[in-house]
């Protein structure tokens, strides 16, 4: 995964602590799960707002990567650079509740 924001914050955490001592929450399917940040330290988006047309273009670089989803006749897109700071968007598209994760 492009674990950019989470990894930047976690690298700061690990630099301060010993890299071999991250807190282990448990072992799942043979691999450890590490507890590194408090819940919601990276804030998922819960009430997304949208723009379209020229307002959308104005906030984007043409090469900017996006994640897009179509349900029925509705298409929503999320900038991956923006998602780096939130990791998850809780959204509803075409009447369907979905979570976009990055």
């Amino acid at each position: 995964m492009r674990m950019t924001t989470l990894l930047c914050l976690l690298m700061a955490t690990v630099v301060l602590a010993q890299p071999s001592d991250p807190e282990v929450h448990g072992t799942f399917d043979g691999d450890p799960m590490y507890s590194l940040l408090p819940l919601d330290a990276i804030p998922a988006i819960r009430e997304p707002e949208f723009v379209n047309g020229q307002a959308a273009h104005d906030q984007m670089h043409p090469d900017e990567p996006i994640l897009a989803v179509t349900v029925g006749d509705q298409t929503h897109a999320y900038s991956l650079w923006q998602l780096d700071g939130h990791e998850i968007v809780n959204d509803t598209v075409g009447g369907r509740a979905i979570a976009a994760t990055w």
Partner: protein, 191 residues
């Protein structure tokens, strides 16, 4: 991406701050269950063992996508964001995940971008480079033929054709090889 509806409930997912196989673990607000965002499976909590329904999404660049889909609604930015903060991580072949894991198999450089499909214990990863030209590629996923193709709008989609000729879209994850192989160490690689 995933459907947030599980049974009668609509879940709200937060970033738990926990990491498993170098990938983020989600926690839902309603039950506190922990979920892998790579597999969609609940690992711990009231809903442990549940698997979220996949809703196929597509990755593309804004310019190509918006020209093909002008009615797209775009998540609003409250402040400008730029690539520069993360470009170094993205470009650096040495920086791959926080904890070294199973991907050191040498089959592909860790930071190779792949498009991965998986089902019922089998997995196939196709390098982004292999699909860059826009030609369709058939791969065998278990006993099923999956066709993958980069679209004119910039997104890579995958589908399988049923006996009646109808196409069923399959979710494709665009990820670094180091992350994909951590979850699917026996994946077939197409490059």
């Amino acid at each position: 991406m995933y459907a947030r509806q599980v049974g009668d409930r609509t879940l709200t997912f937060l970033v738990s701050g926990k990491l498993w196989r170098n990938s983020l673990i989600m926690q839902d607000l309603e039950t506190g269950t922990l979920w892998s965002h790579v597999t969609g499976e609940a690992l711990e909590g009231e809903l442990a063992g549940t698997r979220l329904e996949v809703v196929p999404g597509v990755q593309a660049d804004w310019g190509t996508w918006s020209a093909a889909h002008p009615s797209t609604r775009l998540l609003a930015k409250s402040e400008p964001v730029s690539a520069s903060r993360y470009q170094q991580y993205f470009d650096d072949p040495e920086k791959a995940g926080l904890f070294r894991g199973n991907w050191l198999t040498g089959r592909l450089p860790g930071k190779t971008l792949v498009h991965g499909v998986h089902a019922a214990g089998v997995a196939v990863a196709v390098t982004a480079e292999r699909l860059a030209g826009g030609e369709s590629l058939d791969v065998l996923l278990g006993d099923r033929t999956i066709t993958m193709q980069k679209q004119a709008d910039g997104g890579v989609i995958a589908w399988h054709e049923a006996d009646d000729g109808s196409r069923h879209q399959v979710d494709v994850l665009e990820v670094f090889w180091f992350a994909w192989s951590g979850f699917h160490p026996y994946t077939t690689v197409v490059d």
